[in-house]
């Protein structure tokens, strides 16, 4: 039994990537997301956009993973931005007070400009 989640990544430029999540992010599949993100970092990505437009459910496990990812990006002189969160995820960011620590954009294009700058 697995939680329904599709993880896709694409390179916009050699050091710029978009990680797209579609489905539900919870404690069962956070390792899958983290693994893909760390693979991109190890491959030299310095600007990463996490596209949340397809995320129907996320809990604190997912948020914790994003916080850890942001820390690693900063340590590697990189940038992380979140794109297109749905209202449920926006609410989660607000409840936890984490909305203020992430760069959050309405769309992937805006987020890409942030991490490319």
């Amino acid at each position: 039994m697995t939680t329904q989640l599709t993880v896709e990544s694409r390179r916009e430029e050699p050091n710029l990537a978009v990680l797209s999540l579609m489905g539900e992010v919870d404690v069962a599949n956070v390792p899958q997301v983290r693994e893909e993100a760390l693979r991109l970092l190890a491959a030299g990505v310095k600007g990463l956009v996490v596209d949340l437009g397809g995320v129907e459910y996320m809990d604190s496990s997912g948020l914790g993973m994003l916080v850890g990812l942001q820390k690693r990006m900063r340590e590697a002189d990189g940038k992380l931005a979140l794109a297109s969160p749905r209202p449920r995820v926006e609410r989660l960011l607000d409840i936890t007070g984490l909305a203020r620590i992430f760069a959050v954009y309405e769309d992937v294009e805006g987020a890409l400009k942030e991490v490319a700058g």
Binding site: M1, T2, T3, E24, D26, V27, A28, V30, Y57, D59, S60, S61, L63, G64, M65, R88, L92, I95, T96, G97, L98
Partner: protein, 135 residues
């Protein structure tokens, strides 16, 4: 379900990450039987998911293999208890990887009342209340 009726639903899941979703789906189904709005149903699902995740992440497998969830629909409220029989934890300092204390912040943020009891002999009971909308 009529507001004057009461009902109890009980669920026992293996204390493993992939089964948290089962408890979430149960929470969603129970809340949908009552007169909660879609957004409140989603809040209740989130709270149950967080409480079960807490049991999965902060309890050693040796000490606890199951998580028990009880939904009690009362005329004016839905009471949910998530219980494990692990070694317990300090609710003020849950620690651990991943969400850490974030999960408890989320539960407190979406439910109307939250009580966390950690027994001296082990075991944690998270009791959450959501008041039903007045018709």
């Amino acid at each position: 379900m009529k507001a004057t009726e009461t009902a109890d639903v009980e669920l026992r899941i293996p204390r493993r990450p992939e089964f948290v979703r089962v408890a979430r789906m149960a929470a969603r189904a129970v809340a949908a039987q009552l007169d909660f709005t879609y957004d409140l149903i989603m809040d209740i699902e989130l709270a149950v998911g967080e409480a079960c995740t807490n049991s999965v992440e902060h309890v050693s497998l040796e000490s606890c293999r199951e998580v028990f969830t009880r939904f009690s629909a009362e005329p004016d409220r839905l009471v949910i208890e998530v219980i494990d029989h692990g070694q317990g934890f300090d609710p003020e300092r849950p620690g651990g990887e991943g969400g850490g204390g974030l999960g408890l912040d989320v539960i407190r943020g979406v439910m109307d009342e939250v009580y966390i009891e950690c027994g001296e002999g082990g075991g944690t009971r998270v009791r959450m209340v959501k008041y039903r909308p007045k018709g």
